[in-house]
């Protein structure tokens, strides 16, 4: 590990991606992710890689499809409206089982919305978004350091499962500066290994018979029987990911907690400040922060539901999306309340405290 440097989240994740061995980056400018594409335009050529400003997000994600189909660590990034355009390519990559990383620096929506932080794309990221039966692995950072660390994790998971991975960030994490420590660059030897890891299926240089290969990077299976098999195989892969890759953080969760907050990303960050103050005031409250929002930590939430827990609060920067997953985990055992903010406006720790105080009052009645 090197020394800490002060950086914006958008730049930190770009630097970390290069260090993780990403040498192919294709994107289209959009606020609030433009620092990411700008950083890549400066640094990728220095790393000997490809930086290409595509004509659209559609083109960018399909360039990633091509590069990932060649077995290379490839990445694209955008913000909400651009991510909608990338959904075509994401579905195709999931179908063709291509490893790739997509960063979403979320902003307010729907439509053109605004350029402030939001978590309005939770459903799109975790429940589909593109067409067909597929799953994206979705990582949700809550600090600049974690945003950067997730670049490496995202590529590891993408390669391990041959599946696209999304880092679901937002305008706040993208634009704020925090100290961050980077992993070292991949060594030449590691880069060579990365390059070869997918040779059994990817498009690469060929030989004559008997070693000639004919690899097909493809999501089309016109025969229903063959497609059935393919989709079932994908389903089995998703089950494996669910079993092995759930990640979450417990913050101040104790056996005698009376209240739990469930929040991810920026919303969790604000919730932590509220929890610190509430703890000082004697309220027994903790936070469960999903780090993978797919696969979702249902079991962790269920397990934290000790008999002392009276109510759960879900805080999100949207009208209430992840709350549906929390309710699935809670199975009606305790009331699940919601505090949301939309339009790119953040809640303050005080607003969370007030909400909890209100919930306490109701419980006492």
């Amino acid at each position: 590990m090197g020394e800490k440097v002060l950086m914006k989240g958008n730049e930190a994740v770009a630097e970390a991606a290069i260090r993780a061995g990403c040498r192919h980056y294709f994107a289209y400018p959009i606020t609030p992710q433009s620092e990411l594409i700008e950083y890549m335009s400066r640094m990728m050529p220095k790393a000997g890689g490809t930086f290409l400003q595509a004509e659209s997000e559609l083109a960018a994600v399909n360039m990633v499809y091509g590069a990932a189909g060649c077995g290379k660590r490839a990445m694209t990034s955008s913000s909400s409206p651009g991510i909608s355009l990338k959904m075509e390519g994401i579905s195709y990559m999931a179908g063709a089982e291509l490893p790739a990383v997509v960063v979403n620096v979320q902003r307010g929506g729907p439509g053109l919305g605004d350029i402030q932080p939001s978590q309005g794309d939770y459903f799109q990221a975790t429940k589909g978004g593109g067409h067909g039966d597929y799953k994206l692995i979705v990582l949700a950072p809550n600090s600049v350091q974690e945003f950067a660390d997730m670049a490496d994790l995202a590529f590891e998971l993408a390669d391990k499962y041959r599946n696209p991975v999304m880092i679901l960030s937002d305008g706040l994490l993208g634009q704020m500066m925090e100290p961050v420590e980077f992993k070292p660059h991949k060594t030449e030897k590691e880069m060579e290994q990365l390059d070869k890891q997918h040779f059994d299926w990817c498009m690469h240089h060929n030989q004559d018979e008997p070693n000639h290969h004919h690899h097909e990077v493809n999501s089309l299976e016109i025969d229903p029987k063959v497609l059935e098999k393919h989709v079932i195989k994908l389903g089995e892969k998703y089950e494996k990911i669910k079993a092995n890759e759930v990640r979450y953080e417990e913050y101040k969760v104790t056996d005698d907690c009376e209240y739990l907050i469930v929040a991810f990303g920026t919303a969790a960050r604000i919730a932590k400040s509220a929890i610190d103050e509430l703890n000082e005031e004697g309220v027994k409250i903790g936070l469960i922060r999903p780090i993978t929002v797919w696969p979702y930590p249902y079991e962790a939430i269920a397990k934290a539901l000790t008999p002392s827990v009276k109510k759960i609060l879900v805080t999100e920067l949207n009208l209430g999306q992840m709350i549906e997953d929390v309710k699935l985990a809670v199975e009606g055992k305790v009331p699940v309340e919601f505090l949301g903010k939309v339009g790119g406006i953040l809640f303050t720790p005080q607003e969370i405290k007030d909400k909890i105080k209100g919930m306490q009052g109701e419980t006492c009645k």
């Binding site: 192919h24 490809t50 399909n62 360039m63 690469h204 493809n218 999501s219 089309l220």
Partner: protein, 250 residues
């Protein structure tokens, strides 16, 4: 015994799925022969489109990607950038290239991507059952222009070569046809030239094939050839638009 004609090594053993008399089979063969003749089979990768030739990824005997509808030039860009020592072509129909994929083809050409694009213009959407294409001729009846294409309502056919020829970067642009044995011989030369330039990483090369779709035109293959000569040539003249490889070819 002397072998006079055999299946190019660059084609797999699979039988084509095309209708009898369809020109897709001819253009596949021309490309495969060029790859063989230039000894490029081990350094070649291709991109199949969405359209009747969607299964091209099964027919060419080297690594192939199947792209989303219209995105082949973007996919090819990713491939060429990822493996610059390899060589890449796309194979696209007129709906794929000149409707849903106009943005991708124009920008790949404008960047001068070092790829070859083979463009099959049959003036119709073959795969989905004969709907109007951006290249459908004025007055031509299709399943979505049942009264004939009305150019005052929907515009004139898009001419891809002419359009791309307005850009500076492309290295080679030629329109050939597959309507007679002599035409096919000329087409073969164009494909060879595009692939030679591709092998030498000279720049963006584009070959359009004036083709037929007997099935959706509702004609016999021979009538389709005749109809195409009479009706398509006025809009899509066979022509060398640009060849930066020869003096004055620009």
């Amino acid at each position: 015994m002397q072998v006079i004609a055999q299946r190019p090594k660059s084609l797999t053993d699979l039988n084509f799925t095309y209708c009898p008399g369809c020109t897709h089979g001819i253009s596949h063969r021309l490309i495969a022969e060029a790859v063989d003749e230039l000894g490029m089979r081990n350094i070649m990768m291709g991109v199949a489109p969405v359209g009747c030739s969607v299964f091209a990824y099964k027919f060419f005997n080297f690594d192939m990607a199947e792209a989303a509808h219209g995105r082949a030039p973007a996919v090819a860009t990713g491939m060429k950038r990822a493996r610059p020592n390899m060589h890449v072509f796309t194979y696209q129909g007129d709906g794929d290239l000149a409707a849903i994929g106009t943005s991708e083809i124009i920008h790949a050409a404008n960047r001068g991507e070092k790829i070859s694009v083979f463009f099959v213009n049959n003036a119709i959407y073959g795969m989905t059952g004969g709907q109007m294409a951006p290249t459908t001729l004025p007055g031509m009846k299709t399943s979505t222009s049942p009264y004939g294409r009305d150019e005052k309502d929907i515009g004139y056919p898009i001419t891809a070569c002419e359009l791309l020829n307005t850009l500076r970067a492309p290295y080679y642009i030629e329109r050939v046809s597959l309507l007679s044995p002599q035409d096919i011989l000329k087409a073969k030369k164009a494909v060879l030239k595009a692939m030679t330039y591709n092998k030498e990483n000279r720049g963006f090369t584009f070959v359009e094939f004036v083709s037929t779709c007997p099935t959706n035109w509702g004609m016999t293959p021979l009538d389709a050839q005749k109809w195409a000569k009479e009706n398509m040539y006025p809009f899509f003249p066979v022509k060398l638009f640009r060849d930066k490889g020869v003096e004055g070819g620009e």
